[in-house]
Symmetry: C2
Subunit: 243 residues, 2 copies
């Protein structure tokens, strides 16, 4: 039994989560542009923990309680907020050892809906290898949940899911019989040698460009700039070492 392989599966949208749910699994959230990349960047820059919220009302209420808040809509930092949502906003001198409230829609929805799973981890290209290595030691199933765009499939979250699934299967500890994982791995194999270039095909890349928010494309699609692994603990995200 020691050598029994674990399964890796991929769910392309929060709306499909009921059909993939496996509470024995570690669920990895993929929201590459930009929530899960920004969350990893925040921990890399020394944030102590992070409160993901979906609504601006909730973010505003927490601001009044004294928290630092990252929030924007349509690319503009909101009046009451301390930062925007870009991974470039979290400078160590401002955020070290702080708790940050991070307002995001698709990403938070995905994180909170998986709260009953064994663990919820935050995945991005920037922590890909560290995350894969950690998952390989866990000896349990993995489900990658793509945050998508308003419950629609998106390319960048799926390509990341393929990258992670491929790394897990390559380790010899995982298998898949999930068609969505098979398809995601195919995309990763096409995209991997020029990820940023490949993402020119992604619809969300063009939404960000129109908003002037596409300065982060290269950063979001460059693997392994950090080894942090944020995980959910109650309704807080913490570094897995602090779990």
């Amino acid at each position: 039994m020691k050598d029994k392989k674990n399964s890796v599966e991929v769910c392309y949208s929060p709306a499909l989560y009921p059909y993939y749910r496996n509470d024995d699994a570690i669920v990895v959230i993929s929201d590459i542009l930009r929530a899960t990349t920004a969350i990893c960047a925040a921990f890399e820059n020394g944030v102590k923990n992070l409160i993901p919220v979906s609504g601006l009302d909730e973010a505003m209420a927490l601001k009044k309680k004294g928290y630092l808040v990252a929030a924007e809509r349509d690319g503009l930092v909101l009046d009451f907020a301390d930062f925007g949502n870009s991974p470039f906003n979290f400078h160590p001198e401002q955020v070290k050892d702080q708790t940050i409230v991070y307002s995001t829609t698709n990403g938070t929805q995905a994180i909170m809906m998986a709260a009953e799973a064994r663990h919820v981890a935050v995945g991005a290209f920037i922590n890909l290898t560290a995350l894969a290595q950690w998952l390989i030691t866990r000896r349990c199933d993995v489900l990658v949940l793509c945050a998508g765009w308003r419950n629609r499939y998106n390319l960048e979250d799926s390509v990341f899911a393929g990258a992670l699934a491929e790394a897990l299967i390559r380790s010899g500890r995982f298998f898949t019989d999930c068609d969505a994982a098979v398809a995601a791995i195919e995309l990763w194999e096409i995209a991997r040698y020029d990820l940023t270039g490949y993402m020119e095909k992604a619809a969300h890349r063009h939404r960000l460009k129109k908003l002037g928010l596409d300065d982060i494309m290269q950063y979001c699609h460059t693997p392994d700039s950090t080894t942090v692994i944020p995980v959910l603990k109650g309704n807080l995200l913490v570094e897995h070492k602090d779990y």
Copy 2:
């Protein structure tokens, strides 16, 4: 305005349909193993029209009214039924000019949920080119709805969606800004030169093999054996020429 391109989009699961719904579009149902392939085969063999039903109770009630019924569960033709669900069941001498009740779960659900769209058409590799040519003359948007497997993503329905989207875009009359269509086209480009071989990767292919139902793999993945285009008219499927 005459040259305005139409959009082609792909929805990977009936559970995602609300997020892709476009009632101005022609919705093409993809349920390659086996419903949409079998429906095309039935019309190719002379069936006059076809009543898709999801439940066995409904199929049984229509049998009592005198209809011919195709229905099976777990690979066994049911006592009350005249045929199983395989595309090989519809012999011209038995079905010519008849109305057939076809019991299927994923496929019927997908067909009926799109009933408010401009048209609902039945797509399969076996009618790929005829369907694409017909759609190109229609001058309206196209949404490919994959029936999937119990609301999960599946490979064969998605690869067909990619094949159809690629043919439409290649005509110069269509564009896409749908990431699911982009990803489906990538899969089609990988799979197209050995479709049956590629589908060894599909989970459902292995389900069918266990049930002894995989004799249809080659037939279901060989393009253009027919030019029929079944479309929904009320709750009946008819050949589009009879619409």
